[in-house]
């Protein structure tokens, strides 16, 4: 007998709905060549299967879902993505205005952690708290990483200009 009902799925869908946009943005940033929507669906499936493990006393739904999404995005970017796809958001560099070319190039020269912080906070528009969840670090570390990233970018862009 199956106790998982349509109402359960409706409840879950309602529960994830407010977070879908952030999940999609994060997927697009962390795995830009992969299928963003597929990552989100995979993340939702994972979250559904593991929903009993969610403990609201230990973090927000947003942080939990974004962590799941980041995990799926990382897998997609690393080895689960068989077929490269066009980017969803970033146009080819050659079509960008000069200032954006400089920024893109500068972003590529950040460290992994700095880049991740920038991707989450500035592009995916995650909060500091959610960025910390994705980065597996404290909020203070996120802030300091962002400071470091901006310092590095400032130097890079000044040199460029």
């Amino acid at each position: 007998m199956d106790r998982t009902t349509a109402q359960d799925r409706q409840d879950f869908a309602d529960w994830v709905q407010p977070h879908l946009a952030a999940m999609a943005r994060l997927a697009a940033r962390l795995a830009p060549l992969a299928d963003r929507d597929d990552i989100v669906q995979e993340a939702l499936t994972r979250a559904w299967l593991k929903r009993h493990q969610f403990d609201p006393s230990r973090g927000t739904a947003s942080a939990w879902l974004l962590a799941v999404t980041a995990d799926q995005a990382r897998k997609a970017a690393r080895r689960r993505r068989p077929w490269p796809r066009p980017l969803l958001g970033d146009p080819p560099i050659s079509t960008l205005p000069d200032d954006r070319v400089d920024l893109q190039r500068a972003l590529r020269r950040l460290s992994t952690r700095q880049r991740l912080a920038v991707e989450c906070f500035y592009f995916a528009d995650l909060s500091i708290s959610d960025t910390a969840a994705v980065m597996r670090c404290s909020e203070g570390t996120v802030k300091s990483t962002l400071v470091d990233a901006r310092t590095r970018l400032r130097a890079l862009l000044e040199v460029t200009s």
């Binding site: 007998m1 199956d2 998982t4 359960d8 799925r9 409840d11 309602d14 529960w15 994830v16 879908l20 946009a21 999609a24 943005r25 697009a28 962390l30 795995a31 060549l33 597929d38 989100v40 669906q41 995979e42 939702l44 499936t45 559904w48 299967l49 593991k50 009993h52 493990q53 969610f54 403990d55 609201p56 962590a67 995990d71 995005a73 897998k75 970017a77 690393r78 080895r79 689960r80 068989p82 077929w83 066009p86 980017l87 080819p92 954006r100 920024l103 893109q104 590529r108 460290s111 992994t112 991740l116 500035y122 528009d125 969840a133 994705v134 597996r136 670090c137 901006r150 970018l153 400032r154």
Partner: protein, 381 residues
């Protein structure tokens, strides 16, 4: 305080977000019990979940498997202090995992006592997220559980809610007899694996492709169109190629640079150096490389991998296993709560309560070499 770089990034982020399409609507069909993610045979780990029910046998597990993830970090005691479970059991040959009548077994989980019901041993720490009036959210989920006797409640970190209900975590060892765990030893529970993002792969491993880098290193390329490649491999020559993967030269599997790659290592994200690795399991590698290159303009690494499962093999194997496994999973009494295809190991990983003799027979018929069993309750050999 004004920060020009902050403003630049903020504006760049806004511009990018403005280009983004709406997020997808959740595909609820993927959440139906016993159903796998429909496209997974082509995309990655198949994940299916059993039609859950309160059954005499059946546990929810929290064991760390190569696929299990624990999206909760520890209470922060410091940066990077992630608690890793001490009981991350390595899947063993199936027969070693078989639980017979009278065996000593062991697991770490939650003991739950409710009025009018046998005390149960179930997974730790769970609440159902959306509030459901029929379920007290303070009571941990115990969809899969085994009856248990002999638990000393005085040695549990107990929580009592509401009146008459108590639960607490413990590592229990005891005798498995007549469908019940008779406890002989009780200890503190295993620390939970609280890694936020770990997928338990070897993060120290290099992610370099198995091909020498061209002179000057692997170039950063614009995104390549993979449709023609996909068509060629997946639709026309599925028996010739293994599932492709993307490699990031100079980067460890955890995303940190090894310092050995071109440009000091790449990062997943826009502008990362990526190499599509394709393994040829059958036929002439040079001819395959030429055919693939004609269809793909990005970085490509084509190598020979004779004997590995091809895309067609993988599809057939997975389909055969999943047909039988799906039937077993739909019966909650079997205690199988998830399964998924692991393309790295070329097996279907099965997470379940315990390997009973009945299940062992089923698994044998499926083919034990096609499965990687990961039970929660394990015999002590």
């Amino acid at each position: 305080m004004t920060d020009e770089i902050h403003d630049v990034l903020d504006q760049a982020g806004r511009r990018w977000r403005a280009t983004q399409p709406d997020p997808p609507e959740p595909d609820r069909s993927r959440w139906e019990p016993g159903r796998s993610a429909p496209r997974l045979p082509r995309r990655g780990p198949l994940v299916a979940v059993a039609g859950s029910t309160l059954v005499a046998v059946g546990l929810i597990t929290t064991i760390a498997t190569p696929w299990a993830w624990w999206p909760w970090r520890s209470d922060r005691g410091g940066e990077g202090q992630v608690v890793v479970t001490a009981a991350a059991p390595t899947p063993a040959p199936a027969e070693v995992l078989l639980v017979r009548e009278g065996d000593i077994v062991q697991a770490s989980g939650t003991v739950l006592a409710e009025p009018g019901r046998a005390v149960r041993f179930c997974a730790p720490a769970v609440t159902f997220m959306p509030a459901r009036p029929s379920v007290d959210p303070r009571i941990p989920d115990c969809t899969y559980s085994v009856p248990v006797t002999g638990v000393d409640p005085n040695h549990l970190a107990m929580t009592a809610v509401p009146p008459g209900v108590w639960f607490g975590k413990a590592r229990l060892r005891g005798v498995w007899r007549a469908g019940t765990l008779h406890v002989t030893q009780q200890a503190a529970p295993d620390p939970e694996n609280l890694s936020m993002l770990s997928d338990n792969t070897s993060d120290d491993a290099s992610d370099d492709p198995p091909c020498p880098a061209p002179a000057g290193g692997w170039p950063v390329t614009e995104p390549a169109d993979g449709k023609a490649l996909h068509q060629y491999m997946e639709e026309e020559h599925a028996d010739q190629f293994r599932r492709p993967r993307v490699s990031y030269p100079g980067r460890r599997a955890d995303g940190k640079a090894t310092g050995g790659g071109a440009g000091g290592g790449s990062t997943p994200g826009a502008g990362a150096v990526e190499v599509l690795v394709i393994e040829v399991v059958k036929g002439d590698v040079e001819a395959a490389r030429k055919a693939l290159r004609e269809r793909y303009s990005g970085n490509l690494c084509v190598v020979s991998r004779p004997g590995a499962l091809s895309l067609a093999d993988e599809r057939a194997r997975h389909g055969a296993v999943q047909a039988t496994l799906g039937t077993l999973m739909r019966d909650g009494a079997n205690g199988i709560y998830s399964s998924g295809y692991d393309p790295e190991r070329e097996v279907v990983e099965v997470e379940l309560v315990m390997v009973t003799p009945q299940l062992y027979e089923h698994f044998t018929r499926i083919g034990l070499d096609m499965l990687r069993l990961n039970p929660w309750l394990r015999p002590m050999r």
